[in-house]
Point group: C2
Chain length 436, copies 2
């Protein structure tokens, strides 16, 4: 993974880097959390990729639960409990769920949607013959997420009725000591802990992401290694060598100069869910009513996800002609080994002759190249993240880079990137409505 700032104009970049100097002591603090393997601070997640105990526990449980008969892994969870897993699943298996291949599918059960639940319980569940064919992984950090608990019960009831074996085929992932943890314990259902100080949106490299992905057969060792390898750079004390610091610096600078929207513009469409994972990370970490001193500030950067080239035909006009209120990060893979070519002999010969014999790589590179020139001409600021390939290793690196970037950005914008106090307002009202 490589962060490219060629197109941040020199002036902006130098000014942004200079403005971000104050974060140096916090980076030193983060480096300390890393070197001490400290799990007692909010930044504990930086230690997850080095945690061999988690890997071993995941491996053991996978061995225990997964056989070649496994057809569906139901991941029941919402927000930080499933966005990271879905990002990786869609990046690696994007589009393939449509086919009739006989591989294990991951089925995401997030919101309490009746049409979705009916399809899962009436079609998927009824197609199963024996308990080895399914696994339910139900994840809630607090152990009290309404949708997750409701969906878990609805799904388990259907599985119990049609296939059986639900207690043996369920794994609970939650905070140690939560009501969910205790209930799993009482019922002798397997359960794994999320380290206390690791919040949902920073938890993908804990059991939350590693267990369901490993159960599917994803190379989670590579995922974790990608995160491990980039961490040293993201904690580097010199901004010139630290991509997380550079990105946070440009985002903070842009925000203070009126660019309050951050667009993650992926040019590999299978990375859309990775953009959505980042949408939570940025939205929830920086969107705050109060700053660290308790002052009412209503800080926040609105994250958007765009897909190239699709969204050039949707919101491209707005981006190029509309208000200059956005900073863009183009994310793309440089691996074109699977490119497909337009045949030389065509059915529609006279139309768009310039694509004759060109490959998908040629076409997408030309479109991205055209867009970068157009952004430059319109003076729209952007960064680029180049992935060597769409693989667990590169995605692990990207996620670790972004999680550390977010901690630094919180520090620069003087907000707490680890809490989410305002969601309580709707949850309290929902609870009241449900209890009446």
């Amino acid at each position: 993974m490589k962060l490219i700032l060629d197109n941040a104009t020199t002036y902006t970049k130098e000014q942004a880097f200079a403005d971000a100097k104050d974060v140096a002591p916090y980076i030193a603090h983060l480096a300390g959390v890393a070197s001490e393997n400290n799990y007692e601070t909010d930044e504990a997640s930086v230690n997850l990729p080095f945690d061999s105990a988690i890997s071993e526990q995941v491996d053991a449980l996978v061995k225990n639960k997964v056989s070649p008969s496994l057809r569906y892994i139901f991941v029941v969870g919402i927000g930080g409990s499933n966005l990271g897993t879905k990002a990786i699943y869609d990046a690696l298996y994007g589009y393939r769920d449509l086919g009739h291949e006989t591989r294990t599918r991951m089925v995401f059960v997030d919101t309490t949607n009746a049409a979705m639940l009916r399809f899962y319980t009436e079609e998927l569940v009824r197609s199963l013959q024996n308990p080895d064919e399914y696994l339910v992984v139900t994840i809630s950090k607090s152990g009290g997420t309404t949708e997750t608990l409701a969906n878990t019960e609805i799904l388990l009831a259907a599985l119990g009725q049609h296939v059986g074996g639900t207690k043996e085929r369920t794994v609970v992932i939650t905070d140690e000591g939560s009501a969910f943890w205790n209930a799993a314990d009482m019922a002798s259902i397997d359960h794994m802990a999320i380290p206390q100080k690791v919040g949902g949106r920073y938890s993908v490299l804990s059991a939350v992401g590693l267990f369901p992905l490993a159960a599917l057969g994803v190379d989670v060792q590579s995922l974790v290694k990608g995160a491990r390898d980039i961490r040293a750079y993201c904690l580097h004390a010199d901004i010139e060598n630290n991509p997380a610091w550079q990105s946070a610096a440009l985002m903070s600078f842009a925000y203070r100069h009126g660019q309050s929207i951050n667009d993650t513009f992926v040019f590999n469409s299978e990375l859309e869910s990775l953009g959505k994972w980042y949408r939570q990370l940025l939205g929830e970490s920086i969107g705050k009513e109060h700053d660290r001193n308790g002052k009412q500030v209503h800080t926040g950067i609105t994250p958007t996800v765009s897909v190239g080239s699709t969204d050039l035909h949707s919101v491209g006009q707005l981006y190029l002609g509309g208000p200059k209120d956005k900073v863009t990060t183009f994310v793309y893979s440089n691996d074109h080994t699977d490119a497909v070519s337009v045949p030389d002999s065509r059915v529609f010969n006279d139309t768009v002759a310039m694509i004759n014999g060109k490959s998908t790589a040629d076409i997408m590179s030309a479109i991205l190249g055209g867009v970068k020139i157009a952004y430059n001409k319109a003076q729209l600021p952007f960064m680029e993240v180049e992935l060597a390939s769409v693989t667990p290793y590169e995605i692990g690196a990207f996620m670790q880079f972004k999680m550390i970037e977010m901690m630094l950005l919180g520090n620069l914008l003087k907000v707490n990137p680890f809490d989410q106090p305002n969601v309580e307002s709707y949850k309290t009202e929902t609870k009241r409505l449900l209890e009446n």
Copy 2:
């Protein structure tokens, strides 16, 4: 479909309605376009749902092309050529593509993504036995869309090699007289026209949307009837009876008071693609460098799509605590006939006891109710669109309402909602790069 403004405070609503009075002559013009069935103006799309010639042409071609053997309809198109069709497909069949049902699937081939094309050509195409099992619908208004032409050739080459019959199994939809039209004509490939003055993002009720949806078996007569029935309201000369005028008035008012982001927050997750259809409609129609007088203005409202309850666990914190730069439209269905219930006897008994025996409808209604109370308390402006059900009729009404709303909003913000001049900047560069 019902627009509900109970939560727009009286002051704002009255002020917004008063500020939007100037659009009255334009509404009279639109009513004239409708009563004269005028296809020579930019607003021609308002006449599509009354066009029996299109319906008859679509019916005849469906009869000719569709048999019970049909397994895959490949819709090759991007932006306005596929977003409306995908919105309706996902609303009606959302989640169901995962299963092994033997119904016809719609496969969207939009961007030139190598991983996607490999899967389609190597897995789906090779699973086909004879030409009746597939249909390729390739759509480009201009007839010169790079991605669409490239994908069409790649797909047809694979189909030709493995199954054959490609010329008989392809339908081209484009402007009459385009290079694409002429090439289809020369090759004796069936083709249908898009009325000249109907732009891509207003074209869902032309052959662009109606043909592939009818081929799949969607009740397009209901879709069109929904649009027809709401048109009279959306052209009504009194704002109190005109939902399109009301919505445009509130959006225009909010934009002029600093709310430059518009969030379509769907509380039926299968409507996410409908939100993405609207994202193009709003982004491309209002995002403009110049106003109607040629003055440089950089006008634009950034559209976002949020999914309830999923995104409450993602960007809910930002929305409730962050900058007050958004106007929200909650979209939800009031049909709960397919609700599923949490069993009374639960596996995890002590956790979130308030959901015991509650249905998905109870839970989602309580969450939406809680969110509305929280938005009100935080003084975040919102509208509500209540659909009687997620059916072609209601979706047709919603789309017609939104397309007319957009014409009115363009008039209020003094921009041309029918063009997209700035996308030429990247297209020119892309062409140069591809030709070199």
